[in-house]
Structure formats: C-alpha cells, structure tokens
Amino acid sequence: MQHGIKRINLSEEAKRAKLEKDKAKIVEYKQLSEKVFSLRDDEVYSFDALKYTSVLLKMNPEFYTIWNYRRDILTNLKYEQEPDNDYAWWLSYDLGFLMSLLKKFPKVYWIWNHRSWCLFELVKLGKVNWQYEFGVVSKLLELDSRNFHGWQYRRFVVENIELESTKKAAPTNKSDESSVLLEIDINEFKYTTEKISKNISNFSAWHNRSKLIPKIYHLFQALDSPNEKYPEVFEIFKSPQSILNHELELIKTGMYMDADDTSVWLYLYWLLTEKLFIDDLNKSKKGRYLSLLKEELHIVEELNKLEKDDHVENWDNCWCLKTIVLIKGLIEKEEKGATNPRDLLTNDIKNHLRTLIKIDPLRKGKYLDQLEGKASIIPTI
C-alpha cells in the first residue's frame, strides 16, 4: 500500500537497471529470509537466531511472521547462560530497537503490536516502565500530531499508568483512588489543551478531550473534598455547566479563527447534545438549556453575518448555517417536545436547508432527505 508517494513511470530500460541494482539486495534478503525460516522450522531459540531476526526486521518491519518468531525466541531463550542479560534486559533492548524502527515507520501496525507485547511481558516480570513509554509516545506525537497509532498508544499507556498508580497507592477508599487517577487525567486534559492551542484543527485532541471530560468530572465528584487539590482545575469541573461554559468559550475562539474547520464544529455539536450537560442545565433551572441554545444560536448567527460580509456573493458560511439548522432544530425540540423529524421543520429551517443545497451541493441528497422529513436535522440518539 503506497500512500503519498509521487509516481515515477519507469521505462523498461530503467526498470531493468533498477532490477540490476537491486539484485544484490534481493539475494541478501531472500537468503536471510530462508535462513530465518529454517531456524524457525527447526525450533531454534538462540541469541544468534534473535540477531538474524533483527537484521531481517530492519529490512522489512512488516514481516509479521518474523515478529512472531522473535517473540517465540524471546520467551524460549535460555537466559541463565547470560546472567546480566536476562529476559527483562532483552525485552528492554527490544523497546530500543522498536523505537529506532518507529521513527522510520510510524504507521506500521506490527511494530506497535510488538511494543505492546514486550510491555505486557515486562508487566508479568514486574519490570515495566510506563513513564518511559509516556515519554516515547509524546515524542512521536511531536513528529506527527494526528498519528492515529500514536494517539491510541498514548491512551493505552495512560490506561496502564492508571492501573499501576492505583495499585501502588493501594487506596483504601474511593476518594483516594479518584485522587490518584485525577492527577493523570488532568495532565492528559492539559495535553489536549496544549495540542489544540498549537493547532485548532487537531481533531484527535478534541476527540480525546471529549473522552476525558466526563471522566474527570466523575473523579472530582468522588473526592471527599474536591476543591482542595487542584483548585484551578476544579473551577472548570465543579459542575457540568461550568465545564460547558469553559469549553464553549474555548470553541468560540476556534470558530472565529477558522469558520471552515470541521473539528471545532464537531466538538461544538458534542457540547450541545451531550446528556451530561443537558441534564445538569435543566436540573438547575427549567429552560436553562433552551436559553443556552438561544445564546449559542446568537453567537453563530453573528459569526455568519461577518462571514457573509466577506463573501463575494454574500453567501452564508456553510458550517455556520449547518450549525444554525442544528441549534434551531434543538430549540424546536425543546419548545415543542417534537419527536418526529418532520415536526421540527419550520419554514425558517426549510429555507436554510434550501440554501445549504446551493452552498454545499456535495451533500444535496442529505438536505433533500431532511426537507422531506426522511432524515432528522438533529441527532436521534
């Protein structure tokens, strides 16, 4: 699978020349593969065999069968012959080896897979260093802040740091346990803030934030005296409403920075429809959710006005208008308690949908379905 590599059409002659040039490499690769396969078939689990797999995997880190063999070698080696280089030592050696590969091939599943395997083996030995892993993944996300594997690995490491920390602290009650976890998750929350302030379009960071917020809120709730340890953060997290206000303020900046950025709008949709926030708003005062929706509608309409003024033909901004439809739909639902998609469609909303067909023609079919009440304009779950 080739991604993002410019095409070069080789002439027959150039192909032959390349093949000629590659010949030695091909022979070396095939001979080495053959050698490693026969060692594997003979169930040889030796330090020499391990070295051969290193050379081969450096040539081809996607060779999953060789990673499998390497794991079998590592688990079957007779370490007593090398007292200083025991199993844990070799597993840690592999982590270094993997790091050099990841720098070159950050998107190869098999490398990430072998890394987690090594770590779980180290867990079994009680010799894992999750903090080091944390440093590794932070460095890799510096290089590519949207790397899918990197973010997943970060969540994996954090999960394990949480497990380890609660085990170490051996909390005797729920409050102590929450306190241990809070520190970790607050740092993760701050990390997403940092990534977002560097690049507002980093949806990976927004996504992680949406997972962390409910978690941190519930952890604070479980503390005996929640405002003591992290008073500043607690200011944000003291209630779902305060979180919502904080996040809406943050997102407002993003909306004004780039009204065409998908990430910011998707996150806003979450804020406006998440049960945690809605329930809290309505609990505090009847109609509070409704007035918040109206406030947000006003903000987006103001932004849309500015965007319209900037457009040569005075068009609405696409994302502003999509959001206006969503918020107006939510308002209709709140005011009328409508459950049928058709009942949400006021003439005003219908006009917006018709405008969207003009300014966002790619998704014309969706807007037509919505106009006909075949699809809802607000999320149904």
Binding site: K15, L19, D22, R146, F148, H207, L266, W270, G365
Partner: protein, 330 residues
C-alpha cells in the same frame, strides 16, 4: 461552489487488467518485501478483475487456488499471507473470500481444513467480544469484521459469537456517531466500514439505523476541490476511502448523501494513464490495494455504466457470489 460541470476521464480498463496481471512479473526488491501482503494482494487483484468481468481470462483458476492452499499453515489451522508465513486472521479472510468466489460451497477446502479454520477463527475471539489477529493479542475492530465475515462465509455464526462481538463494536462508537479501532479511539472511516459491515453481517443494523449522525459524518468525508473522500476530519482525500465510506453509506442506504459524480471524477483522475493502476491521489504511485478499492468504488457508484460486476458493500465481493450465502438472522 456552484454546480459546475465535472470532467470525467475515461476508465482505462485494459491498462488496469494488464497492470493487475503484471503484478507478479516485475519482481523488484519491493515485490519481495511485500510478501506479508500477498494473500490480501491476490484477493484485491481477483476482486478488481472480477469487477471488470475479466477474471477467468486473466488469471488461471488453478494457479490462484494452488497459491491459496500453498499458504495453509497446518500448525495454526489458518492461512498465512505467503507460503511458510504464519496464519493470521487478515490473510485467512482473504483466502476464504478467494476460495468462495470459485466455489461457493467451499467444498474445495475439505472437511479437515474446514474444521481447523473454523476452530482457528473462533479461537481468536476474546471474552470482550473482540477478535485478536493471531495468538499474540493485537485487537482492533478490523479483526471483529474479519472474524464475523470469515465465520459468515463458513456459515458458522452462532449467538454466542455474534452477541459479544456486536456489544464490543457498539462500545467503539463515538460522540460523532462514527467508530474507532477500539473503545475510546478516534473515529476513522476504514473502521466505520469494519463496524458497519460487521453489524450488517450480524443483522444488527437497527442499532445504528436511526442515527443520522453517522450518515452526516460519512458524507462530510467528501471534500473539495477534489471531490474525493478523506478518512478523518481535516485530512487529505485518498482513493481507498471511496470504498470504506461509500460502502458504509450504501449499507445505510445513504449513498445519495454525497456527490457520486464528483467522487467518480476523483477516482478516475488517480489512474496511471501510462501503466494502468490507481493510486491514492492524482499523480501518486499506484498499487493493487488502491486499484481494487477505486474500482470497487466505481462499481458502487454505477456498475452498469462501466459494465462492471455489482459489488456487495458488506462483503466487498460480487453480489452474484454473496447472494448464495446463508445470511445470519438475529
């Protein structure tokens, strides 16, 4: 952004057929490095040729089947990607798909191998409902799809397998309505296909059917000016998402939520007009993976126009093959 005329380049059918046939003849260094993908590559090649209705005259049936069986890993009881490579769920599904194309009853497998491969796939399901790719524990919604699809091809699904798998998939759904590789992971269009496809196989689409959120998220993957699909917000378009996104929309009966003509134009601009094949973006290196999913996308857009075989969005196999499957009813 008005409805402008879209220029649609011609499909280079003959060149693509040749490109696929030639895959095995230019044995460069890179060719040898890609052995670990050969079974999948063969499935992509066979599927691409089938879509263009030229499988039988282009690839000798016996050679294809012989290759598949040469990758049988008798120790694990599954198929590897290449002779002597270890069995893996990814290559096992590809092998079963290829065999199923030639022999819908899979009698060719023989009862012993059949039993072993069923045990191999079933044995990879974990208590969480997820499947691991092999005995070393990598988990991902890709493997849930692989597991359910393989067992569906073998007609071996049971509630004990389906129910926990479905539960796991639903844990991977995010606030944007879309799905990630694991619970908590960011939404990604290719994972959406694996999750929606698995739910379709499990006959559990009602769990997401009312949700316009997922349909909207998928339709937002189409970007301008190219008209191609990206895999996540604020990323570049790539031909392979023509399949991952459009198949998912197709399963949800929402193919009309995107501009099919613009997508068609994008896929066709990614063709290599000299040597055939399709790349991820215009002027980029071609490969068999993007060639297959580009053509599969075109088949979903309008198979009649291209005189293509109709493709089943759930299995990524011709509907004439999948209609013979005994479908699971929950």
């Amino acid at each position: 952004m008005t409805d402008t005329e879209v220029e649609i380049l011609p499909l280079l059918r003959e060149k693509h057929i040749n490109y696929i046939i030639e895959q095995d003849s230019h044995r460069s260094y890179e060719y040898w490095l890609s052995e670990h993908l050969r079974m999948n590559g063969l499935y992509w090649g066979v599927t691409a040729l089938l879509i263009m209705k030229s499988l039988d005259e282009s690839l000798p049936r016996s050679e294809v089947i012989d290759f598949v069986f040469s990758c049988w890993d008798s120790k694990a009881g599954g198929f590897g990607a290449f002779p002597r490579h270890d069995a893996h769920l990814l290559s096992t599904l590809s092998a079963l798909q290829i065999l199923k194309i030639y022999d819908t009853e899979l009698t060719i497998l023989g009862s012993e191998k059949r039993e072993q491969v069923v045990a191999f796939v079933k044995g990879l399901q974990l208590p969480s409902g997820c499947f691991q790719g092999d005995r070393f524990g990598e988990v991902d919604t890709r493997f849930v799809y692989n597991g359910l699809s393989s067992l569906s091809l073998l007609d071996e699904l049971t509630p004990e397998i389906v129910d926990p798998a479905v539960k796991f998939i639903m844990e991977c759904q995010n606030f944007d309505g879309s799905f990630g590789m694991l619970p908590g992971a960011e939404s990604h269009a290719a994972q959406v296909f694996t999750c929606v496809g698995a739910l379709a196989i499990a006959d559990k689409l009602h769990l997401i059917e009312d949700d316009t959120k997922l349909g909207s998220w998928l339709s937002e993957r189409q970007v301008l000016p190219s008209g191609g699909f990206n895999g996540r917000p604020e990323k570049l378009p790539d031909v392979c998402y023509s399949w991952w996104v459009l198949s998912s929309l197709s399963i949800l009966n929402k193919k009309h939520w995107v501009d099919l003509e613009k997508l068609e134009a994008f896929i066709l601009t990614c063709q290599d007009s000299k040597d055939g094949g399709i790349g991820d973006r215009p002027d980029n290196q071609t490969d068999i993976y993007h060639t297959c999913f580009g053509l599969a996308g075109l088949s979903l857009i309008d198979h009649e126009k291209y005189n293509f075989t109709e493709i089943d969005p759930v299995y990524c196999m011709p509907t004439e093959v999948t209609k013979t499957f005994k479908k699971w009813k929950s």
